[in-house]
Amino acid sequence: MEDQITRLTSRLVVPFIQVYGIYIILHGHLSPGGGFSGGAIFGASLVLMALAFNLSAGVKQISHQSASLMESGGALGYALVGLIALLWGGNYLANRAASFPLGRAGELFSGGAIPVITVFVGMKVASTMVTLFYNLIEGEAKVGDPEKPGA
């Protein structure tokens, strides 16, 4: 796609979308939102890049390798937070019972394990969006025109 307006607009908008996504992830425990919404917003910004420019520009933003690292890392981090709770004397995925510091409710650094989990989930969702998009697009790109039926 070669369209100057789309390119310019998306170049302008993408950083703001990304900051907004990160804001939503980090304030997941304070305001509506959280890992899923924030991650989806962040992932959408990368998808927008790929749509407005082309696939390679999007790939430059986030490579396959780092996307898959983030995916595994996000889910793994979540599971490991649960295991840490186990080491600290709670049941699996415990928060207060595992004496994570809860802090003062309403502040950015509060809620013990919750912000950590939210960040991991955000990472996971953002990378999932990107990976799904790229894989489907690449599958499509490889298709070109469909093979003859029955070929």
Binding site: Q65, S68, L69, E71, S72, A75, L76, A79, L80, G82, L83, A85, L86, G89, G90, N91, Y92, L93, A94, N95, R96, A97, A98
Partner: protein
């Protein structure tokens, strides 16, 4: 608090963690993938055994995730039946995985093997979760993981039949989970609870005020789990899916996946709905008749199949009918037979699919007609097939007889002579399609020029182990029977 206390959660979580690591591990050191998954299986098996030991010492117990007690948090329940299911899942999962190690090289592209292992770990982990969880919504989440993973291990094979079968399976299973979620909504709406036990306590009051809601929820639950477990009129996806999949996937799908849905339905029917509710609404009768139709029609369809794997798939529809029959008869001895059949059928159908895999790999034949004389070139494998076939028919000395025996006894004790006849009739039907294959395989000469390709020893070893297990559980069923009797006594209070 010792580590042992956390085993219920850890059994599930180590599979998940293993799956999360798998893609990275495959990129970094692809040879480590298989040992890692084997290790996880062994660890989970050890934990399940430890849980069993603890159950014998202290009786059923609960595990509260995140230290939140039931109405607020999610709870895992550990009792004898659930641990029995976990042992089957992990133990047979390990067995099928050992077979898959060599088989996959022939059926998949090399670069997707890592993903296959990840999906396999997720599948076993989510099934363990389904077996242990005591929370409606948590069950839904695990069902969804299990559903996607079981479709994916079909579509991973490069053939268009697999894609279509997998799509059909995915759509129907999405319909099933949709219905289940709707049922959760309806139950939550009138009881305000999600925990099995607490719903059970709240249901009688709710049933008086909102009878229709619960009726619809019950119907939706039967549709949901019936679709997933291939209860008779909802089985349409099964033959294609199980027949076209790679052989290890067929084994795990036919052997384990449909059983866990049957077990979940059992859990919901017996632990969520109070006995009074089950008497007011003829749920058991419905399940019983559908199971009967499944047993008969599954066998009849299996007879006319030309493809070996398709025949085995149709036979699965008939065999899952026995499990549902045990649930439907609502009688302790019949339930015992149904539960014993879960183990038996998982073993023999897993083994038969492995045999089919070996035959296809060694000779390239998969039509029933082409199997003449194959016993001369693959003797050990065909002996295993014979044992599996005998067990399906219910010939003495094999596990199949024992479970059918208990089912029939249960039907007699419940004064339902008709179902004894169904069981006998279906055994005859089984004989009609298994015996000719066996006879032709050994008595006819082998025709064919092309040489038989060598088969990995590991695969033959896995099949032999399965054969020994089928015979063992047929000759010496006592420990499992005693165990199940005690378990059912504790659960149903018979």
């Amino acid at each position: 608090m010792t580590l042992q206390h956390h085993f219920p959660a850890l059994i599930i979580v180590i599979f998940l963690i293993c799956a999360f690591i798998m893609p990275l591990l495959f990129r970094w050191r692809s040879t480590l993938c298989a040992p890692a998954l084997l290790l996880v299986h062994l660890l989970a098996l050890a934990m399940a055994v430890a849980l069993l030991v603890r159950l014998y010492a202290g009786g059923p117990f609960y595990y509260h995730l995140g230290n939140w007690a039931p109405p607020w948090g999610i709870e895992l329940k550990i009792d004898f039946l659930r641990v029995y299911m976990v042992l089957i899942l992990v133990g047979l999962g390990l067995w099928i995985f050992v077979y898959a190690l060599k088989d996959l090289a022939h059926e998949l592209k090399r670069e997707v093997t890592g993903w296959y292992y990840a999906l396999y770990a997720l599948l076993i982990g989510s099934m363990s979760g389904m077996a242990l969880t005591n929370d409606m919504f948590n069950l839904f989440v695990f069902m969804e993981i299990c559903g996607i993973a079981s479709c994916a291990i079909i579509s991973i094979k490069e053939s268009r039949e697999c894609l279509e079968a997998s799509f059909k399976y995915l759509i129907l299973s999405a319909m099933g989970t949709g219905c289940y979620l709707m049922a959760i909504a309806m139950i939550y709406m009138v009881t305000g609870q999600l925990n099995f036990q607490l719903i059970r306590e709240a249901l009688p009051a709710a049933a008086g005020l909102y009878p229709n809601n619960l009726l619809v929820a019950t119907a939706l639950i039967i549709v949901a789990f019936g679709t997933k477990a291939a209860l008779f009129p909802l089985h349409v996806w099964l033959p294609d899916a199980h027949a076209s999949a790679p052989s290890p996937s067929s084994a795990v799908l036919s052997g384990l996946v449909i059983k866990i849905y049957a077990f979940s339905l059992f859990n919901i029917l017996f632990f969520v709905f109070p006995a009074s509710f089950r008497q007011a609404v003829p749920i058991n009768e419905i399940v019983l008749w559908l199971a009967t139709l499944g047993i008969l029609f599954g066998s009849i369809f299996a007879m006319v199949q030309e493809d070996l794997k398709k025949m085995l798939a149709y036979s699965s529809i008939a065999q899952i009918g026995y499990v549902f029959m045990g649930i439907g008869l609502n009688q302790p001895t019949a339930l015992l037979g149904g539960f014993y059949h879960i183990l038996n059928h998982a073993l023999m159908k897993g083994m038969l699919f492995m045999v089919a895999g070996v035959i296809i790999q060694a000779t390239g034949r998969r039509r029933v007609k082409d199997l003449n004389g194959i016993g001369h070139v693959l003797p050990l494998v065909m002996i295993a097939f014979t044992v599996g076939g005998f067990s399906m028919i219910g010939i003495p000395g094999t596990g199949g007889l024992i479970s059918k025996w208990y089912l029939a006894e249960g039907a007699l004790l419940a004064n339902r002579l008709f179902f004894v006849i169904v069981i006998v009739l279906s055994s005859l039907l089984n004989a009609v399609y298994y015996l000719p294959i066996i006879i032709n395989a050994f008595l006819n000469p082998y025709e064919g020029r092309e040489p038989v390709k060598p088969v990995s020893r590991l695969m033959v070893g896995a099949i032999t182990a399965g054969m020994i297990a089928v015979i063992f559980f047929g000759v010496y069923p006592k420990p499992v029977i005693v165990f199940l009797k005690a378990a059912l006594a504790a659960v149903i209070g018979m």
